[in-house]
């Protein structure tokens, strides 16, 4: 699914959070929105998702302007946001409207994909943070979304879990080739996952620069080419 963001501005009670952002993604592309905290990157993602409808400008999916939530898009939040009263399986199939058996089969398939086979009947309180986030990923994928929006999905996890889940995300991408927009403040994460990185800076956040990462995926963490990109990004962020 191709996404087009045109001149999106969001104000909260007169304070501008993001100003005049425009960008475009192509089918199957992973685009990173990178910036320091407070630059409005999450605000922008919420506007794209339709969870927030109070923005100015235009968001279009496959050429059609949208303002409310689109069921072809899925959102992975910073926290897992699982329903504590549902088991892993029921959480994954939460948004499906098919018959019970079909729902169960679909859920099982995605639970296996995220590596949680055997945990179907666990409750969220019995899961570790990384496992809970895997469930959240499975829940976002189960509707076969064409557009996946990720809001700092791994920032609350420890370094090792984070790397595992980044690899999981790449595995999913290579299988389904869904378009992804990833909000992150982690340069290494953006360089590991994204085809293109859009840098936002300032308050209100404005478009600063765009980097096209031409390295093929999967990339080696800490390779020289990646390090060169990192240096340029750091310079751009004036850090």
């Amino acid at each position: 699914m191709s996404l087009m963001v045109k001149n999106v501005t969001r104000r909260f009670n007169g304070n501008t959070a993001v100003k005049n952002i425009s960008f475009q993604t192509y089918k199957g592309e992973i685009v990173g929105l990178l910036g320091t905290s407070g630059c409005g990157k999450s605000t922008l993602l919420r506007a794209i998702s339709g969870l927030d409808e109070g923005y100015e400008g235009e968001v279009s999916l496959n050429g059609n302007a949208v303002r409310n939530v689109n069921t072809n898009a899925s959102f992975i939040f910073q926290e897992p946001r699982l329903m504590p009263w549902l088991t892993v399986k029921d959480n994954v199939s939460f948004g499906l409207s098919e018959k019970k058996q079909e729902k169960g089969l679909k859920a099982e398939r995605y639970i296996e994909l995220v590596g949680l086979k055997g945990y179907e009947n666990y409750y969220p309180l019995e899961l570790s943070g990384g496992m809970a986030q895997r469930v959240a990923i499975a829940r976002a994928l189960v509707t076969s979304p064409e557009l996946l929006l990720l809001d700092e999905p791994f920032s609350a996890l420890d370094a090792f879990t984070k790397m595992q889940l980044q690899d999981l995300l790449l595995k999913i991408w290579s299988e389904y080739r869904s378009t992804m927009v990833l909000v992150t403040h982690d340069i290494d994460e953006a360089l590991y996952l994204c085809d293109r990185i859009i840098i936002l800076t300032g308050q209100p956040g404005v478009f600063k620069q765009e980097f096209v990462i031409e390295e093929p995926k999967p990339r080696r963490r800490g390779s020289q080419q990646v390090a060169a990109y990192k240096e340029r990004i750091l310079k751009c962020l004036e850090l």
């Binding site: 069921t71 926290e79 329903m83 409750y123 309180l125 509707t143």
Partner: protein, 279 residues
């Protein structure tokens, strides 16, 4: 209500169990620990009564009270009294809870309805319960209707308050998950808001039931020809403290049993909650 976000806490699948010998385990079973004080109290009371320290016309001995209950049971009147009281509680509890769920849901969901209804309901809440009795008797005469209505009023307020606070306390972040799936308002209510406010609803039901037992006594004291509250009046008029204490004991047992049933329901419905393990 702080346990809606559970994702970040890494908790073990099973609570740690300290190893203890079977004997020690049996000794410290919660049931036994909970019985220690009542048993001591009853023994002391019985001893004092037998020694003649407490005169029987004021406080009869525990055995005398048990005899009285057995006597009532043998005469067959006990079941009628217990039955009618339980029936009133049940009906009043059902009506009060149903009304609270319907009104509380609307007040919790819609800001406008809250602004419209809540001040009036809060004002009604501050009316002492017994003040309703003469009015209800006047309106519905002395029959069952007035008693059930009084109990329903008593049950209504705690359930209502807890539902409203439960619904307004639902984590907006969970609601957003539903919104991303394109849920309608009705689906959001049914699939996220109601389950998430269930803990607070159950707390409300338990305190509502407690108040229901209070109100049934009030209702039966005021005018009834059957029921445990009626036995209290009979006991007072016939100078029989054993009858009064026997009905008090029956109230205690029934209250405890019904509360235990609700507690069991609460445990079953809320097994997903992250509970505090106390040592």
């Amino acid at each position: 209500m702080a346990n809606h976000q559970n994702g970040n806490t890494a908790s073990l699948p099973f609570p740690k169990v300290k190893k203890a010998s079977p004997f020690k385990k049996a000794m410290f079973h919660p049931f036994i620990v909970g019985s220690i004080l009542p048993v001591i109290l009853i023994i002391v009371w019985e001893a004092l009564s037998r020694a003649g320290v407490i005169p029987a016309y004021q406080l009869p001995s525990p055995t005398a009270i048990v005899d009285k209950i057995i006597e009532l049971a043998e005469k067959g009147t006990l079941w009628g009294h217990v039955g009618i009281t339980t029936y009133r509680i049940f009906l009043g509890f059902l009506l009060g809870t149903a009304a609270a769920v319907i009104i509380g849901s609307f007040v919790g969901f819609y800001n406008r309805v809250e602004q419209l209804l809540d001040p009036m309901i809060q004002a009604f809440r501050s009316i002492p319960s017994l003040a309703w009795v003469p009015l209800f008797i006047l309106w519905m005469s002395i029959g069952e209707a007035s008693k059930v209505a009084l109990i329903a009023v008593g049950v209504f307020f705690p359930v209502y308050l807890n539902i409203v606070s439960g619904i307004s306390g639902v984590d907006r972040k969970l609601i957003e998950v539903g919104k991303m799936y394109g849920f309608t308002n009705f689906q959001l209510v049914k699939r996220i808001i109601l389950p998430a406010s269930l803990p607070s609803f159950l707390v409300g039901m338990r305190s509502g039931l407690g108040l229901g037992w209070m109100f049934v006594v009030a209702a039966e004291l005021m005018g009834a020809s059957q029921g445990l509250g009626y036995l209290l009046v009979v006991g007072q008029n016939t100078y029989s403290p054993d009858l009064i204490i026997a009905s008090i004991v029956l109230f205690a047992i029934l209250g405890k049993v019904t509360d235990a049933l609700l507690k069991r329901l609460e445990y079953k419905a809320l097994h997903w909650q992250d509970r505090l393990e106390r040592s």
